[in-house]
Structures are given as structure tokens and as C-alpha cells.
């Protein structure tokens, strides 16, 4: 899933302090799971903003809404009838949702309420970690199911580098060395000989480097 984290309230206040009617818009997908932008967080942010405006002696309308998804036309349409009641929206969806909202409601300012962080998983409640950088050409078949692109600080395809110590990355002792994980996994799979295959220079054109990406599936288009 897409993992996001809450933006500091001061940053959000700075963006919306001059508006009179604000909608706080949550998303029921990834950001709900990572407890950054679901219904609960919409409520928390709305309360904090109400408190702020109250202290300022201002009457500002703050409404709450959470959509099933913000990355889908269908769900964004659900608020079309009420959008003219607001002069700004704080979207707690990931960057995709914020942009999709902005595209759909062209004349209404949409502010991000979260920082979109990475594609990751829930290790345990309150701890999410990265697993994928969406490079567009998956190499997990060759690396024992552990991704060096997202999990090695230098995205080294033929690692580990000389900074790997006791299974940890040189940049932080809290971070596992991806290549140590790969090697352990290759061992478990009885494929350690594969370690000596040189991974070729990667085609990064399917990554960010190739420009904005598209997946086109004519077979499923209507």
C-alpha cells in the first residue's frame, strides 16, 4: 500500500488560515490503514483546526467527509453537489488523491494534509516500512524476493557494498542490509550460487527517469 504520514498541524494551518469554509477529506484506503488520513484522522484534524480558529476568535466552517477512495472518478463524484459550499479542501489522501481531486475540482484549492512516503507494509501497528519503489521492471525473481532497489540505500544491484556490518546498513544500525537479507534468503532457497551472477545494468526508463508513466490495457478498456 501507499504509506503516508501526518503533516504537522502548523503547516496545514499556514495553508488554510485565511479560508472561511473548509472541507477535510479523508480516504478509506491506504491512508486509513496507515492511520494518517482515514475517518479517524479527519476527525482529529478537524477538531484541531476548530480549536485553532476558536482561539483566533474566528468563525470558520470545518466539515468532515471520508470517501471510499480519492484515486477514482466514481468516488470523487460523490461530493460534487457539496463542493460549492467550500472555499478550500484539505485532502488526507496520498499525493495521488490530492492531485485527482485538484484535477476534478479545478477551481477549488486542494491542500495536502499528509506527506506521502512510500510503498510499504505494516510491520506492526505504528510501524510501516518500505518495500517497493515502483521501478516498473520487477527484479525480485533474481534477488530472492527482497528488493535492493527499495531496500538498499544505494539501490545496488550487485551488493552488498563495503559498508554492510553485522547485517545492518552503513547509514543506520536500525536498517537491515538488503543484501544480507538477500544472501540469507538465497541460502534458505539453496540458491547461493546465484549470488555470483552479475546483475546487468538496469533499464531505468520504466522508473521515474523515463518521465511520467502510464499503464495502458486495451483489453480491459471499455
Amino acid at each position: 500500500m501507499i504509506v503516508a504520514d501526518r503533516k504537522p498541524i502548523e503547516e496545514i494551518i499556514e495553508e488554510v488560515k485565511n479560508y472561511e469554509k473548509i472541507l477535510i477529506l479523508g480516504c478509506n484506503e491506504c491512508v486509513t490503514v496507515c492511520e494518517a488520513g482515514g475517518k479517524k484522522e479527519v476527525g482529529v484534524l478537524a477538531s484541531a483546526l476548530r480549536m485553532y480558529f476558536l482561539n483566533q476568535g474566528r468563525e470558520v466552517k470545518i466539515d468532515e467527509e471520508t470517501l471510499e477512495r480519492q484515486c477514482d472518478h466514481e468516488y470523487l463524484e460523490e461530493i460534487r453537489d457539496v463542493m460549492d459550499q467550500y472555499d478550500a479542501v484539505v485532502s488526507l489522501a496520498c499525493g495521488v488523491g490530492v492531485q485527482f481531486m485538484a484535477e476534478k475540482y479545478h477551481d477549488c484549492p486542494i491542500y495536502p494534509g499528509v506527506d506521502t512516503c512510500f510503498l510499504g507494509a505494516t510491520e506492526k501497528r505504528g510501524l510501516w516500512t518500505e518495500r517497493c519503489q515502483a521501478c516498473g521492471q520487477c527484479i525480485l525473481a533474481r534477488t530472492g524476493g527482497i528488493c535492493p532497489v527499495s531496500r538498499c540505500a544505494k539501490r545496488i544491484l550487485n551488493g552488498p557494498c563495503g559498508g554492510s556490518a553485522k547485517g545492518k546498513c552503513e547509514i543506520n544500525k536500525e536498517i537491515d542490509c538488503a543484501w544480507e537479507l538477500i544472501i540469507n534468503r538465497l541460502k534458505a532457497l539453496d540458491k547461493l550460487d546465484d549470488y555470483e551472477k552479475i546483475d546487468p545494468i538496469k533499464d531505468w526508463s520504466t522508473d521515474r527517469a523515463g518521465g511520467p508513466r502510464k499503464v495502458v490495457r486495451e483489453d480491459v478498456q471499455e
Binding site: 552488498p160 563495503g162 554492510s164 552503513e170 544480507e180 549470488y195 545494468i201
Partner: protein
């Protein structure tokens, strides 16, 4: 192994001499005097001088510019190149730039992570890794081709090196990793600073058993301690370096004013020991910001005078 390039370092190794290299870090400024002074201190005691490439990710004068300066002084530079800061276009371009000045040695590295340096908020590139940089230089040299497939007019003639760290983890892949670099086309290796002799010799032994030592020249990396503090710092803070307790103790038990002398003494003992170890073809003396000690270390280790080759 017969020399394939005009590299003096390669010729010395091919002739069966123990090679000696050292390194200079470029300055945090544009004064080339810093390089010429360091180089003049050590030039008669080494066969080639590495110029580091923004080591520890701290921004410095470019390695290429400093290598050109060494070349203009009639010296033999080893161009260090890290894959952290440049993509494949820039790396190939700088290889050609170096080749245009007949720089004949390159050391292919991934580079320390930028979080250690003065621009921790910067991007890193890592378009290719050090293994793939070795392949790239070999492709450019041996086939006269760019990665993109085009022909190179006057291809680079470079002796291709890389680093190896027998002390990084996990140990069991340290020899396979060397094998992989050899398969990628590496011709000489400069190792990480060696303090744990036993582990280094075990690494060499396993490499020798696999027949790898006939395929690559290994230069053993040594670094003298300036102080007991440095020994402790290397032991505890520098990733991938192993300093045995007895060496830290030996430095700590030495009175402060005698510690630099003791550090140099340890370094000379290490070289003398390693000279007898099978598979060691030379030494890479890394006297970090302490270049003035290199002549003494080389002399007292019995590695002076340096051989001349045609």
C-alpha cells in the same frame, strides 16, 4: 598476467614487483597547490597515486581535475570514480576526459552514502553500481564501445581496479564477491585497511583455493594510526573496518606523544608480515591527511627504491 595497457602500475605488477600506491584527498577549495604538495611528498616512494572522489561524501575538488594535475607533473594517477554522484552519461564522459590526458588507471567504487557528508539532503544517483562500472570501463576499453552501442574514437586505455573489503559482512560472500568483480573485468584490487591479519589471510586463502589470485592483483590496504583515539574511532565508528582489541590496547598503552610513532611502527610490521603472504602483490598505503609519513613507511618496509619499468 601480461600488461594490456600503458599503465605504469600494471607494468610493475606484470613484471612481478610488489607495487606501492598511496592516495591523496583533494582539497575543499580550488587551490591545486594542496595536491602538488602532497604528491611531491610521496611521488618517489609510490608507483601510482589514487585521487579520492568526494570521499565520505564531502564535497571537494574533482578527482579528475586533480588526476590531470598529477599527469601534468609526470606522475601516475589512479582516478577514483564513485557511482553515487554521476549517471552513466557523466561516468563515461569523465572516463573519456581522463583518457584524453592519458590517465591509465581507474578505481571503480560505489561511494559512501551521502548522509555521511556535507550534503545529506542531496539525491544519490546509483544509476549503475561499482560492478557495472567495471564492466563499463572494460567495454569502453576492450571493445571501443559506449554503453549505448556507439563506437568510441580513441578508446580509453585504462587498468581497471576496484576495492574489496574482506571485513565487511557477511564474510562468506566476500570471496564470491571478489570472484564476481573479476568476472566483471577487474584487474587490480585495493583492499580496505587491514588490521585483522588472520581474517585477511583466510580471505586470501579461500580466494587462492578458487584460483582467483592468478586472475587479479591484490594490493593490501594499510593505514597507520595517528593516535589511540583514531584506533578506537576506526574500530567503533567506521563501517566495514575491523581493528583487533590488542592493537587498540597497544596504541592506548603508548604515551600520547609516542602514539604517532607507534602507529607507524605497527603499519610497517603489518607490511613486512604481509609481504610474505601469498597472493599479496603490493600495498596501498592510505595515510589519511598524513602523507608525510608515506616515505618513511615505504623505506622502512623495504619497498624503496621503487622499480622502473619501460
Amino acid at each position: 598476467m601480461k600488461a594490456k595497457t600503458p599503465s605504469k602500475l600494471e607494468k610493475i605488477l606484470a613484471a612481478g614487483h610488489l607495487a606501492v600506491t598511496s592516495e591523496c584527498g583533494p582539497p575543499r577549495g580550488s587551490d591545486m597547490e594542496v595536491i602538488t604538495e602532497k604528491a611531491n611528498l610521496i611521488k618517489d616512494y609510490v608507483d601510482a597515486i589514487n585521487i579520492t572522489d568526494n570521499q565520505t561524501s564531502v564535497t571537494r575538488m574533482s578527482s579528475l581535475a586533480a588526476c590531470i594535475q598529477l599527469k601534468l607533473m609526470g606522475l601516475e594517477p589512479v582516478l577514483q570514480m564513485v557511482t553515487r554522484d554521476r549517471n552513466r552519461i557523466a561516468l563515461q564522459s569523465d572516463i573519456l576526459g581522463a583518457a584524453s590526458f592519458d590517465i591509465h588507471n581507474v578505481l571503480c567504487l560505489s561511494g559512501d552514502h551521502q548522509s555521511f557528508g556535507d550534503c545529506p539532503t542531496g539525491q544519490n544517483v546509483h544509476d549503475i553500481d561499482s560492478m557495472q562500472l567495471i564492466q563499463t570501463v572494460r567495454l569502453m576499453r576492450d571493445q571501443g564501445k559506449f554503453l549505448g552501442g556507439g563506437d568510441i574514437k580513441r578508446p580509453p586505455q585504462m587498468f581497471v581496479g576496484a576495492a574489496a573489503n574482506p571485513f565487511a559482512d557477511p564474510f562468506e560472500i566476500r570471496v564470491p564477491r571478489l570472484a564476481k568483480k573479476i568476472a566483471a573485468g577487474v584487474e587490480f584490487i585495493q583492499t580496505q585497511c587491514i588490521y585483522n591479519m588472520e581474517k585477511f589471510e583466510l580471505w586470501l586463502k579461500i580466494a587462492g583455493d578458487r584460483g582467483l589470485l592468478e586472475k587479479v592483483h591484490i594490493l593490501a590496504g594499510v593505514t597507520p594510526f595517528k593516535s589511540a583515539g583514531m584506533a578506537k574511532y576506526m574500530k567503533n565508528r567506521v563501517p566495514g573496518i575491523e581493528v583487533p582489541d590488542e592493537l587498540v590496547k597497544r596504541m592506548s598503552d603508548t604515551p600520547k606523544e609516542k602514539q604517532p610513532e607507534e602507529g607507524v611502527k605497527i603499519c610497517i610490521e603489518q607490511i613486512q608480515h604481509l609481504k610474505e603472504v601469498e597472493g599479496v602483490r603490493g600495498f596501498h598505503v592510505m595515510a589519511i591527511e598524513w602523507e608525510e609519513m608515506v616515505p618513511g613507511i615505504v623505506k622502512k618496509s623495504g619497498l624503496y627504491p621503487r622499480p622502473s619499468v619501460e
